[in-house]
Symmetry: C2
Subunit: 214 residues, 2 copies
DNA sequence: ATCACATTGTGAAACTAATCACAGCTTAAC
DNA sequence: GTTAAGCTGTGATTAGTTTCACAATGTGAT
């Protein structure tokens, strides 16, 4: 079970590319094809797939449909997983609109905001609740995942509430370091940091080349 | 010059934490303090700082101000770096509003969109130009960095234009693999992928614990 | 002064992830 | 059939990153 954070990311990427391949009518892929599309080496693709127990044929490569099925089984929970979003500001609304156009297994089903003007509004088909209702709603809907788009200053406080309510995974957009107990997974999406990284490497300083090269 | 992609990310994070420390009136930090705040080990912090040529005192730790100065010098370009954003939709507007509240060295100075209704509008103080003007505006303002928030289907086309105009670094939000020539750096911010990762690890499958533990 | 202590700086070790290299298949062509 | 070609599956290898371990060092108490 070769499940490093990096591998999981690649599998998720392969899945998207494979869905595209299915849509294009492609039945089989070679590791080097998938690798080229994903920005990985053929070798790495094979290893990742091997970890899933996928087998390919030396002459036809891997069956696209079989791969997809295997990856789905591995990455997804058996049922739809409801997701909460806290902070229905500019970013929160953008994410809501993005996610509500089809995403079968991960569905945002509840929003929360401290602003009384937003409470009880319905945004992109999702009801916005008051902060005080987090615990109740999260338990009622058995939500285990949350997207955090509140100002940095409020982040830790909100996280504590979420964790107390039983949340197990958080996608955090607030530029603040979150303290969570063991067993809760946090993924930080730090826009400012990423842009600084881009600026640094664009300057050609680091010898970090980049996938592609049409 | 220990400049892996990972290290750069941490330095950027240290910088933000150190700015906070200065605001709080803190003069010195120990590696383990900074480490705790950044979710890294003391050891790693020391190594990262060592790479910058920073020195600390065994009794007082590192001087916060000196560290900041050193990191700024290392990460930032000498002058302000103008940034372009392409795709002024929900996400693009959120990013514009986020970035325009102070960010001294990286400034979004030009926006582009294919929608005629948006062209010539001013969003968050930034003028939105027509797509056809990318090359001219980018060259005029000597822009080398771009944020990409167009639909996935348009991403590659836009990237080709950006690269032709001289862009060297791209922060990409479109869930599409971008092909760029060598020397152009792309950082993908894949929201869907990240949420899938959170979902996977929240399920407790992988043994990937997480920083913190108040 | 001297000692006990906590911390830095860093070579070495441990660990993790990516790549190489090649045996073993499977097919297509002749 | 037999051969040639090209791919998979995987042990071995290499590269990269993190942690360990500890000598060296500055500080404050006695
Ligand atoms: N806008 C972006 O592109 C962007 C990018 C990266 C990071 N971020 C971060 O994401 C967060 C949100 O950004 P934004 O641009 O949407 O800001 P915003 O001000 O538009 O939205 C913040 C929302 O959070 C709500 N809120 C405030 N305190 C709250 C609390 N204690 N509990 C619940 N809700 C609360 C506010 O009512 C508001 O609706 C910030 O931390 C920001 O730094 C934003
Ligand atoms: N909204 C989110 O939270 C979110 C999250 C992750 C990724 N994304 C991705 O970011 C991108 C933008 O998302 P969004 O929600 O803002 O979509 P959107 O539809 O609101 O905005 C897209 C914008 O791009 C413009 N556009 C379309 N084609 C263009 C072209 N060829 N050149 C220039 N501009 C063009 C459109 O006019 C529109 O203004 C999409 O690729 C989406 O998948 C969005």
């Amino acid at each position: 079970m070769p499940t490093s954070e990096r591998t999981i990311g690649r599998l998720s990427l392969y899945r998207r590319l494979l869905k595209q391949a299915v849509a294009d009518g492609q039945e089989n892929v070679y590791s080097h094809e998938l690798g080229a599309r994903a920005g990985a080496t053929a070798c790495q693709v094979r290893r990742d797939l091997m970890g899933l127990g996928c087998a390919g044929s030396p002459s036809r490569g891997y069956k696209v449909r079989a791969l997809l099925e295997r990856i789905d089984l591995f990455l997804d929970a058996p049922d739809v997983e409801p997701v909460a979003i806290v902070g229905v500001g500019n970013l929160g609304r953008a994410i809501l609109s993005f996610f509500q156009r089809r995403r079968p297994k991960l569905q945002i089903t509840a929003a929360f905001d401290s602003d009384p003007w937003k409470v009880d509004r319905v945004v992109q088909g999702v009801r916005c609740h008051a902060l005080a209702d987090i615990e109740r709603v999260v338990r009622e809907q058995e939500i285990t995942l949350a997207v955090l788009t509140v100002p940095a200053g409020a982040a830790q406080e909100v996280v504590d509430t979420l964790v107390a309510a039983g949340i197990k995974g958080i996608l955090n957009f607030a530029p603040a370091p979150l303290r969570v107990p063991l067993g809760v997974f946090v993924e930080d999406m730090d826009l400012a940091m990423s842009l600084e990284k881009v600026a640094y490497f664009a300057r050609g300083r680091g010898g970090a080349p980049r996938k592609g090269g049409k």
